[in-house]
């Protein structure tokens, strides 16, 4: 929700980034305030996922221009783990499987690491078990997933629930959900979306990266941004997503080009 007393969490100005010397992001501007839900849409290859990974600090991308401030700090001076501790969270499009590490062990390690960095109390295995089981109810997850290896043999939907479970545990200020809806059937989508909605507060913000309007029926955005060729070319309200659903992306690109010609 857009609130009067909201604080600016993320300030992106002219962000450019390359991977293997190919420019993917070509000048992104975006401001995200607390309490807001942003949807980042656009066709395949428009740079949405790259933008998400750059914010989380993936080393494959080189920042070639622009600035990103997160709660007043230069994000690029922080290592990925420092960003996580500061409150940036990325739910992965393809969560990594870690055979040999029990999910419960992994979740507790990340939780305690982040808690310690934030000067808060860590939980011992028994305390954590109670705590995480409560959070799992939010996502209607079977507690059996605690005993299995991290994401190993999880279905697509189970992996995504496990991502949102981590979001619930780490309580980020800015949660970036990269195609969290992909690979989910309609029931799983409803459960995951419901979980995300319950985690949204006036103090945090959520950025949904998605192809489809479908997710936005469940998590209603305050802003919808359309990305194309490494830029945000249009920003609107939630009705823009519906328009994209019926008209596709091409008209946005065409409109953008036309306006660019006029300005030129």
């Amino acid at each position: 929700m857009i609130a009067q007393d909201s604080k600016t969490l993320l300030e992106v100005r002219g962000l450019c980034a390359t991977v293997n010397a190919i420019e993917i992001l070509k000048g992104i501007d975006l401001t995200v305030k607390s309490g807001e839900v942003h949807a980042l849409m656009g066709p395949n290859g428009s740079g949405k996922s790259t933008f998400a990974k750059v914010l989380a600090g993936h080393a494959a991308y080189e920042i070639t221009g622009g600035t990103v401030m997160f709660e007043g700090k230069n994000l690029f001076e922080l290592a990925p783990e420092e960003r996580a501790r500061a409150g940036v969270f990325l739910a992965f499009q393809y969560p990594i499987e870690i055979p040999g590490v029990a999910n419960s062990q992994f979740l507790r390690l990340t939780y305690n690491t982040v808690q310690a960095q934030r000067g808060k109390d860590e939980l011992d295995p028994l305390e954590f078990d109670d705590f995480v089981r409560e959070k799992m109810k939010l996502l209607e997850m079977n507690p059996d997933f605690l005993d299995r290896s991290v994401n190993e043999g999880f279905s697509g939907g189970e992996k995504k629930r496990n991502e949102i479970l981590q979001m619930a545990l780490l309580e980020p200020r800015l949660a970036i959900l990269d195609e969290t809806d992909s690979g989910l059937d309609i029931d799983a989508l409803r459960v995951v979306a419901n979980g995300v909605n319950q985690l949204a507060t006036k103090d945090n913000a959520i950025m949904l990266v998605t192809h489809y309007q479908r997710l936005l029926n469940y998590i209603v955005p305050d802003f919808v941004h359309v990305m194309d060729a490494g830029r945000i070319i249009k920003t609107g309200g939630k009705e823009l997503a519906l328009e994209l659903e019926t008209r596709g992306y091409d008209w946005v690109g065409a409109e953008h080009e036309a306006s660019a010609r006029v300005t030129a």
Partner: protein, 434 residues
């Protein structure tokens, strides 16, 4: 090294004072004499020998070694921390010498767990068909040396249809520097029996010593043996071991071998599927760093039809360490419907770490399913990023992934307390890496 040097070295090894006492059993003395003869003929392998191409053991020949004959004065309090809660029976050998005061054998008419020299006169019929019959000591200098020193050892005999729930713990402790010890184990699983045997090598000192072990395991029809082997010798130790396993019809052999210690270690495991429908799973993990070398040579010999073999061998190599794996799968003529798969997976943690992996298939039957593969890699960048994006430091992320790589093998150990202890060891060792 030339032959003259090498035989001089062997002569010195054989001159251990005082001479071994003769056994009252003629066949026992004959076996030993034959091995002594073979030691006279064979030489210490060099890197010019195909099987030792990557493993230079010349530092071993420069040690002045003595075998130990005197009983240890260790007390239970010194070594209790190595005991396993699940193990009902335990045999302890200190520098190769049986330590009755530390052992808890079983000799009540069920499973027999005792030291060989005590049992050999009481149970010759059970021992004679197996002792020295499975290991190919005639062409293997280290197996020949061990057999030449054959006097005592660990003996496990599981009677027909007996299922021994509690694992048998064979604990070999190194306490003296420059000691040469010749551990010997014989496990006989009679038909339909089941047992778990843990062969465990530890050290209470960090100076150089030499362990030269031989283990023979015979499985009769429908027997089931779990064999866990943990080598956590001292950092300057030399550990050379040969194990021969023979499987009769529809028997099952599962082994997990873990190599953590020793400056140079070499383990040769030969599994013979000698009758139809035999099954084996042999898994291995080497976790080494600094200048360690760990060499594992395995051979699974499918001699008869309908055999199944599975093998997963992993190496985690840090520092300037060097891991060697050579895994041969042999399918003999007529061993139809053999189903075999082998995987060698290797993780290099530093630029100076090295691994040589050689899977070998020799197939002489036409209706078989054999799969094998080898991978050598570093930690995956995407996996590291995933963990870092959850707040874990680069070092913690690396440790966790390294641990996970090894934990897959550790998890296959069917003894919970040993599994937990090794998980802890692996975690500590990965934290220390590279």
């Amino acid at each position: 090294m030339n032959i003259a040097n090498s035989s001089g070295y062997l002569d010195r090894l054989l001159q251990g004072p005082p001479p071994l006492p003769a056994s009252p059993l003629a066949w026992f003395n004959t076996l030993r004499a034959e091995a002594v003869d073979r030691v006279g003929v064979l030489s210490v392998p060099t890197t010019r020998d195909e099987g030792w191409r990557f493993t230079d053991i010349s530092p071993l020949t420069k040690l002045s070694l003595q075998s130990v004959r005197t009983a240890s004065s260790l007390r239970a309090a010194d070594i209790e921390r190595f005991y396993l809660a699940e193990a009902a029976t335990r045999l302890v050998f200190v520098d190769g010498v049986y330590a009755p005061q530390l052992s808890s054998p079983a000799n009540d008419g069920g499973v027999l767990v005792t030291n060989l020299s005590t049992a050999v006169t009481a149970h010759p019929a059970a021992i004679k068909p197996h002792l020295g019959r499975h290991i190919e000591f005639r062409n293997n200098i280290f197996a020949a040396l061990n057999t030449a020193f054959l006097h005592d050892g660990a003996l496990v005999i599981v009677p027909r249809n007996a299922a021994v729930a509690a694992p048998v713990h064979l604990l070999f402790i190194a306490t003296q520097k420059e000691a040469a010890s010749y551990p010997r184990c014989l496990v006989v699983a009679e038909s339909g029996s089941a047992v778990t045997v843990i062969e465990d090598y530890i050290a209470l000192q960090e100076e150089a010593y030499f362990t030269n072990a031989v283990t023979e395991i015979a499985l009769a029809d429908n027997a089931h043996v779990n064999h866990v082997r943990v080598q956590r010798d001292g950092g300057q130790a030399f550990h050379i071991a040969n194990c021969a396993v023979s499987l009769a019809q529809a028997s099952r052999y599962h082994s997990v071998s873990v190599a953590l210690g020793a400056r140079i270690s070499r383990y040769d495991l030969n599994v013979l599927l000698a009758a139809e429908g035999a099954e084996c799973t042999i898994d291995g993990l080497a976790l080494i760093a600094e200048r360690q070398l760990a060499d594992s040579h395995t051979c699974i010999d499918h001699a008869k039809p309908h055999g199944v073999s599975r093998q997963l061998h992993k190496c985690i190599v840090g520092g300037a360490a060097h891991a060697v794996f050579n895994g041969k799968i042999m399918v003999r003529p007529g061993a139809q419907r053999t189903d075999s798969s082998q995987s060698s997976r290797n993780l290099l943690l530093t630029g100076k770490a090295q691994v040589d992996t050689t899977p070998q298939l020799e197939i002489f039957a036409d209706d078989v399913k054999c799969a094998h593969g080898a991978t050598v890699g570093q930690l995956d960048r995407e996996e590291l990023f995933y963990l870092q994006s959850r707040g874990l430091s680069d070092a913690t992320a690396r440790n966790l992934l390294t641990y996970a790589f090894g934990a897959e093998i550790i998890a296959r150990i069917p003894v919970a307390s040993l599994r937990h202890r090794l998980e802890q060891t692996v975690l500590e060792q990965t934290t220390r890496q590279p």
